[in-house]
């Protein structure tokens, strides 16, 4: 998947459509859009702005969640999707801790680990993932990376050198690519200032 951040308006329609499509429990998200206020840098002629970063499972080439699963419930499919076998998962939570992208959570309704599947049930039927289908700005582009004629392959070729991934230092080789990503967010230890109201107080 390629996410063109120039087209993302941070409307969270991907978040909502994913929740509805996959019956994600309240308070958990398979995908969401982080939003940041960025101060200006006068020396670089940058004006204050708002940055948005849609986040989801990166379906990594080297997924750290797979080797930590003690019963092989998390696995990488031949087509590259990293999936969870909910009939085998024991809900130990190690994959949740191992994921550098915070893409996993323990689903308290199914009592198993849960995460984005790129809507495997929809793609099997020839449909696009719900978040891609519902993106109002057309920022999410989905396709088969092995097919040079797919929309995502064409975009990656067209913008070669301008594409970024999250946390390349983790050597996970992620398969969610970003176009227009601020350098600040490419490292996991680049920490934005917390809002004066903390997440706990919000709940």
């Amino acid at each position: 998947m390629l996410i063109d951040l120039r087209r993302c308006v941070g409307c969270q329609s991907c978040t909502v459509s994913c929740g509805a499509e996959n019956a994600v429990p309240l308070g958990n998200f398979r995908t969401t859009v982080s939003e940041y206020a960025m101060g200006g840098v006068p020396s670089e002629h940058k004006v204050p702005s708002v940055a948005v970063i849609p986040r989801l499972c990166n379906h990594c080439e080297n997924p750290p969640c797979v080797p930590v699963c003690p019963v092989g419930a998390t696995f990488k499919r031949a087509d590259g999707l990293v999936l969870i076998d909910a009939t085998t998962c024991i809900g130990c939570g190690f994959c949740v801790q191992a994921c550098p992208y915070d893409a996993r959570f323990l689903n308290r309704e199914t009592h198993t680990a849960d995460k984005c599947t790129f809507c495997a049930h929809r793609t099997a039927a020839g449909l696009l993932p719900a978040c891609v289908e519902n993106c109002v700005g057309g920022a999410r582009i989905f396709g088969d990376l092995r097919d040079p004629k797919s929309a995502v392959s064409k975009m990656l070729a067209a913008y070669k050198g301008k594409i970024a991934v999250l946390y390349p230092e983790k050597s996970t080789d992620p398969h969610v690519f970003y176009l227009g990503l601020d350098r600040f967010f490419t490292r996991s230890d680049s920490i934005p200032q917390p809002m004066p109201i903390t997440p706990l107080e919000r709940t």
């Binding site: 982080s34 206020a37 750290p64 080797p67 930590v68 230890d189 934005p192």
Partner: protein, 330 residues
Amino acid sequence: MHDILDLVPFVNRPEWGAWEPLALIMILAGGVSAFGAGLAALRGAKPFMVHVLALTSCIALACGIMGVFVPLEQPFRVWEFAAHPSFSSWTAWGAYILPLCLLSVLAVLWQSGKEQTANRAVALAAAALGILALAYATGEVRACVGRVLWVGYWSSMELIAAGIAAASGLVLLTWLRLRLDDFAQGVSHVAPLLTLGGLCLVLQMLCALLTLLVRAPQGYAAFVGMWWHAPEILSALLALCTLLLGSGTLGRLAVRGSFALLSAMLLLWKIIHMGEIFGRNASLYPAREAFADLLTLDALAAFGGTVGLMVVLATVLPFLLPSSSKAKQI
């Protein structure tokens, strides 16, 4: 560098509660004492030394296994460990290492109580499985690469140091449980118990120092408040209390053992539980809340359950297993 403010701080609440630090500290203490029991048996130490180390290991490992099992979302699927084990995971190895370690220390415990010469193979197995239990506990934590605080080699060293402190505290408590009368009469067990009490105090201070040395990852350091240092402050206060109380009576020695165990748990609490406050590329979860989780109902239930099982095992095992007159002498 420009200022960046997190407008939608989707920071997941920590998924792990008190069970994980508790289970880890018990497994580490069990591993250290299993290694100690095996080594003592191999070196031909007094049967009582082997007996108390093996009993401590049994108690700690049983509590550790319970701590791993209880927080599973699907506890009735444990058979998957046998049906579909994935040996790229330390947890899968642990599912075999921990029961085998428990069985080997039970065998050592049985032999030490029956005045038999320790079987070298059994003693060697207990020592080796003790080391494997330590490798499992540290390897499992380091495999979670999403948690920056857990992945360094220093974290393994700190976990093992915490295990040694917890094991010394537990050995002291087990020894006191076995030799209540002897201590009151001022016979042979007094001197070694006082030495062990002194060791507990030193290890408690070491735990406070190691907890202080656990630093917030670079990017987060600027946003971490004083609550980040609450565990080492509590550990240092416990060490001060231990020092002021002295070790003259049975109760004070029991306090030394309990505080050594608690200080080791606080070190793990900081690394494991408070280590979860650092979201990935997101503003942090408050350190105050992560520390205060110590007093939530879930955490108190976990502590109560573990202490309850420890007391039950320390009471029941000496009755069920042979304990000869020779094994009572140090």
